[in-house]
Subunit: 209 residues, 4 copies
């Protein structure tokens, strides 16, 4: 599902323990909750998972890669249920996103790996593939659904459409993350409704402008 270090599976030999992966990722999340990213050590994760350090290093290249995978799993539950209107869809996905960000393992891990990714291109690609792109798909899916409903016009220029989707994605994800992690204020229904109204008004007014 989420990409690993590699798949050097030869032919013979004892296969890797299937349960070890899950135990390691769970232990990583538990450690993130308790000690945070900077004090998380791979030796401690291995001990928590009941696994040798070598087993861990055989599967992941280092702390960053491990944490990305551990955090990415949290975003698996993100989806876009049809709530009947674009506004309701946005509010729903914002609240889902915020619920994930409220979990301490997500808070600790996500920002840290993003920070690390600034100096590590491979890590940035890994984050993009396993976390960011999946979120962006929701934006595209929501727009398509809104266009089907007639809430949004069909876009003729595909490049402009892409740019707009990127903008909307940065606005939604950025505002929610900033509210949750920097301002450290709750993303509750009140805030979500205000934010959604601001965004939708901006979108429709811009579209007609």
């Amino acid at each position: 599902m989420h990409s690993r270090t590699s798949a050097p599976r030869a032919t013979g030999g004892r296969p890797r323990s299937a349960t070890a992966d899950a135990a390691i990722l769970a232990a990583t999340r538990a450690a993130l909750v308790e000690v945070g990213w900077s004090k998380l050590t791979l030796g401690d994760v291995a001990t928590r998972a009941g696994v040798a350090k070598t087993t861990l290093y055989r599967r992941w290249a280092g702390k960053n890669e491990l944490v990305v995978d551990a955090v990415a799993a949290l975003f698996d539950e993100l989806e876009l249920p049809d709530r009947g209107s674009l506004a309701a869809d946005i509010e729903g996905v914002v609240l889902q996103f915020a619920a994930i960000l409220a979990r301490p393992e997500a808070k600790s891990g996500l920002m840290a790996v993003v920070a690390e990714s600034i100096h590590d291109d491979a890590l940035r690609d890994r984050i993009r593939a396993s976390i960011v792109e999946r979120q962006k798909l929701l934006v595209l899916e929501g727009r398509a659904r809104a266009q089907q409903r007639g809430e949004l016009p069909e876009e003729s220029d595909p490049e402009a459409a892409s740019r707009t989707a990127d903008l909307i994605f940065d606005v939604i994800a950025g505002a929610v993350v900033h509210r949750a992690l920097v301002s450290a204020e709750p993303v509750d229904t009140d805030w979500t409704r205000s934010f959604t109204r601001l965004l939708l008004n901006g979108l429709t007014a811009s579209a007609t402008a």
Copy 2:
């Protein structure tokens, strides 16, 4: 200017070197550029600054506090020049903000200390005091100026006004940071204009709604 760890001075004894502070903060920024946050070591910063490690620990409690102060200084240059219209003011401040975020010492340091602040309340307060609140003031200043110009109505309910300012701040700061650091795309004039139009349309439409 920005708060330090230690109490200022009791009496007696050799006073702390005034030049050391500046040298250390500059060395910290240089190290952030070259090696990034996670590989930055205080011993290396001390060497770069031509200062003993103890001198550094006498002034800052640790890596996080030091980096906050080093990065905070970058935001000293943020201001809100009057460009004649709310749209121009927003565009101006967004581009200024983006220019700071484009500097590698800001990129490396900012996200990392925000990530650390999740498990460290004192650090969060330090970030808020020396970075976040100063940014938020620009939002308040811009709104006041727009109200003087008649571009925005006076708000009667002060609490609602505060909530709206918070929302706008999270949207602006969040979107710019997300674009610059997560999406890793340039915050150029095109993007800034699109974003500003979206925001202003959302604001005015919401206000009349």
Copy 3:
């Protein structure tokens, strides 16, 4: 041979390097010669031995324990060859003892660890077990041999015999150490002959008194 800090081995895991011990002790003696006890650093010893500092601390609790073991090995060569008479035996062992004390690694280390042992009971026991008791055995062996030769009478009271042996040991070891390290004069054959005559005359006269 001489006792170490750690318990030998539980099970599992990579075994401790056998060569590392010898390399560390040799490096310790080399460092004692070059820089003396007070300027000897464990980091330097590790470097000289081509070993990590952690490897050193895994085996010894600190500088004192390490130096005791390093110096104790020097006394392994002390023995009591049969030279035909009590006088010749004493002269032989005194010269052997003095030859060891003349080596700079012994000079530097021995007095220092004895000084440290005054505030460290465990260290005192370690010194006693690995250095002092072995020397005292030579006294007992020499007396037994002299009694076989008829040079000394058999002692009837075992407790008095033990007290006398302790006295002789303190006189021999004390005089040689004081001459070599405090007075800093050579323990040559002249001195050794004079000392042995004094001691033997004292012994035989005392025994008949």
Copy 4:
């Protein structure tokens, strides 16, 4: 009385505090008792003495010199009261010497500075001048007194006399120190009487041989 770092007493300016010297030496002895030589720090001594570190360094070159002076003062009380016979004189001085060595500040300090002196010629001279030579004078004084009493013959060869005195000094001081510090057994009247008998028998028998 005991030599200091130097006597750079210029003409003008505030004179050195006379009480500071005594306070520092007393604080040094107190620290020796509590923490031993290796953990004694000059900063701690200064604090105990209610004195600034600079004041301490103005008077002594370092830890070793300070400890020598602090310990040397303990030996000021050593003297050779006339007890009527050589045996009684020796027993008396041995017990006096042992009483000083039983004090923890002497134990901790004396051996340590002797150990240091092996790599520091200036320190050896200082120890010799302020401690060792004074002890050796007692041997010479005791011999002269015994010769006056007719217990020992007058020596014709002055060089041989000097060698014998050195030997006796090393035997007495060495045996007592070894018994007290290495064997860590009490130097009580029983031991002292046995030792004195051994020594005197050896001396008189050797002299007639």
